[in-house]
Assembly symmetry: C2
């Protein structure tokens, strides 16, 4: 469940509260906890309110932890810095706020991910193939060999994609058992290929729901005997209604997705 | 001037203050303002203290703005998310805190950078070739064409690097006049190549000082008639002394670097 709690989109009935974003999250969590395996706040929507937004985020995490639930927590932060800076980001999300996992960008390479992998029971979820239009700019670019090919009279020819290299290489790093990958649901045609490269690694799959990905297609291509998928929906659930009963409507939408997933898990005999 | 104000490394004499990090920044800024063209807080070192750290950052930015100086401000945040999330990160750094620029990761492509370029007088500084060991993992990987090459009996062959593609492609995006690139000073051998691809774009060059990059070499390879370089030093200046007069020592180190830069600028007749 993506807690993309954009302050400008939460139901107006909450605007009288001291901390409307926290109140919104609390009610969404209370209503959807039976159907969610994980909560994933997108940090951008908190950061846009500065330190106040960070307070709402901290309160949300404290609230989730106070429930004594087994529910998994993911900071969708897409951080990506090196060495000591990365260690400080890890401290922010794994220690100050006790998230179980964080999304990270692989662009800067091994030493930008390693500080997150140093935590025994925490997870680094590396961006591999994302669900946005711009994913074609670099992630699926298959690099050309202009000088060789020109000599051979061949104009265009393709090789390995960056996202494939990211998955292959990161799985050779020490601590790689604590790695998952972000794979957009809108890229379900490619999930089969990713599953082959990524072995049994869990895939975090955003883009189901509002972004139009199909859960059945994702499962057919990416599910393992252990499930292997963390499927995320955000806006299609949390903003399903802007009325006072937004939490009930969110629960109904969450239940719908949970039922859909349950069928797929039974078909594959995962449960 | 990198304000990598790690709370565990600031002089112990400041620990009696309400907000030691802000007090540290304020004294560093007061002492170095005559020698610095820009301040670049690395957000990781604030975020590791949660919402309190964000408050120190906000106070630092308010203080810089209150000086009515022309000094440039860079949020070294390395953010990289898409669409609406990216827009919220832009809001956090360009509106809530009025930074002039932010460092961003290109991994997710155009729609992860565009929301930053939508601000007329703000800058997106895109990670190109960074100064860390892990930069070889993906940034300088020159992709292979295994299947074609196997057919031709050629085992290994190389093409264009990812960092080159990032620079070339991003300069075709609308709003690209508001783009700069991060290029590590430890990669000075490659700066010549980057300058050829990047035209007159400004390069943000961290890694001078503590990380061992040579200013003369960077300037020889990367300086334009307009300077074209924002050279950063952090630890070698701000943590030059842990004593009570840390700000005076920082000023001395900053002046040293400023003088070195002034010589190089005169040699090239930029000033």
């Amino acid at each position: 469940m993506g807690l993309d709690s954009d302050p400008t989109k939460i139901p107006s009935c909450l605007n009288v509260k001291d901390d409307p974003v926290f109140e919104f999250n609390k009610r969404i969590i209370d209503a959807t906890l039976p159907y969610a395996v994980a909560y994933k706040p997108n940090i951008a929507f908190y950061e846009s309110s500065g330190s106040e937004g960070w307070k709402s985020l901290e309160k949300t995490m404290n609230y989730i932890k106070s429930l004594n639930s087994e529910v998994f927590t993911i900071a969708d932060a897409k951080r990506g810095d090196i060495g000591n800076s990365a260690a400080h980001y890890a401290k922010a999300f794994f220690e100050k706020m006790d998230f179980d996992a964080i999304t990270v960008s692989p662009y800067m390479g091994y030493d930008s991910i390693e500080p997150f992998l140093a935590y025994e029971d925490k997870w680094a979820i590396i961006l591999a193939l994302t669900s946005n239009v711009g994913s074609v700019d670099f992630q699926v670019t298959q690099f050309q060999l202009p000088y060789l090919l020109e000599k051979l009279g061949i104009k265009t020819c393709y090789g390995k994609s960056l996202y494939e290299l990211v998955i292959e290489k990161s799985l050779t790093w020490s601590g790689s058992k604590n790695i998952m990958f972000v794979v957009g649901a809108t890229q379900s045609g490619m999930i089969k290929n990713i599953r082959e490269i990524a072995g049994d690694s869990f895939l975090l799959v955003p883009g189901v729901g509002a972004q139009g990905g199909s859960l059945r297609e994702v499962s057919a291509n990416g599910m393992t005997s252990d499930c292997g998928l963390l499927v995320n929906a955000s806006r299609s659930i949390i903003f399903a209604s802007g009325e006072k009963d937004f939490d009930k409507i969110a629960a109904r939408e969450a239940l719908k997705l949970q039922k859909e997933m349950e069928i797929l898990l039974r078909e594959r005999e995962v449960i």
